[in-house]
């Protein structure tokens, strides 16, 4: 055991406790960046590979439909611990909460891609009257940690 004087011991103690208490957030920062980056890259590739966009918010499209059906896609999005912490710091000053901002636009992009794939897999040619809805999923602790994004529309086959 190395004998430390009181001042050094105090510094070591402070540094160690700060590092340990922030360690989960740093871990979340590193892992979250890696995970979300890889998922977003995958989404961009899926979008690029899909080709022509079948989604439209129009109620009617020219042409006679032979078959139709309701298509629904959903996703629950949440921010990482790190993003949540950054978000609450941002919320003190107001303005754009960049972490939630990014998470929600990513979620919408993902859910629309799912609807496109849903449309293709169900054998429809296009989706008309597409709507997007967002709602809060309350946690049992009362803190909002997740949001659900739903995309739905009518799939039609020509």
């Amino acid at each position: 055991m190395i004998k430390l004087d009181d001042r050094t011991a105090a510094i070591v103690w402070v540094v160690a406790s700060v590092t340990l208490s922030f360690a989960p957030f740093f871990l979340s920062w590193i892992l979250g960046n890696w995970y979300q980056g890889s998922k977003q890259k995958e989404l961009v590739q899926r979008e690029a590979a899909f080709g022509a966009d079948p989604l439209t918010t129009l109620r009617k499209v020219p042409g006679v439909a032979t078959d139709s059906g309701l298509l629904i896609s959903n996703i629950i999005m949440s921010v990482s611990w790190w993003q949540g912490m950054i978000g609450s710091i941002h919320a003190i000053f107001g303005g754009t909460i960049t972490t939630w901002d990014k998470t929600l636009s990513w979620g919408r992009q993902e859910v629309m891609q799912r609807l496109r794939e849903n449309c293709r897999d169900s054998g429809y040619d296009s989706v008309i009257n597409m709507r997007l809805e967002t709602s809060e999923i309350a946690s049992s602790k009362g803190k909002t940690r997740a949001l659900e994004i739903v995309a739905y529309g009518t799939g039609i086959k020509y």
Partner: protein, 116 residues
Amino acid sequence: MPDTQQTQPQAQIVMSNTETIPGKVIAESLGVVTGSTVRAKHIGKDILAGLKNIVGGELKGYTELLQEARAQALQRMVADAAKRGANGVVNVRFATSSVAGGAAELFAYGTAVVLQ
């Protein structure tokens, strides 16, 4: 419960979120049909979701849970329509509201119609 399963006899009911069923003509309107369900999260799923939050992004467990719940709400709406003798539901809308204690209500409604 029987209405949690995707029963085949109701499969011929066509749904749409537009005013008409594309390519079909509406003969008669039978009024508003509704279906709802209230679901709470599993405590285990809640803990897993908390862990998933280390990296953020999608919470797959909840996505599936809400998907099932919405399917059930739709199923109940379709059952209501079938009871009225409809063969289509137009202008389907969804609403979600959170109920105390971490539960969510999923609600689906639309207009039951008879197609020619």
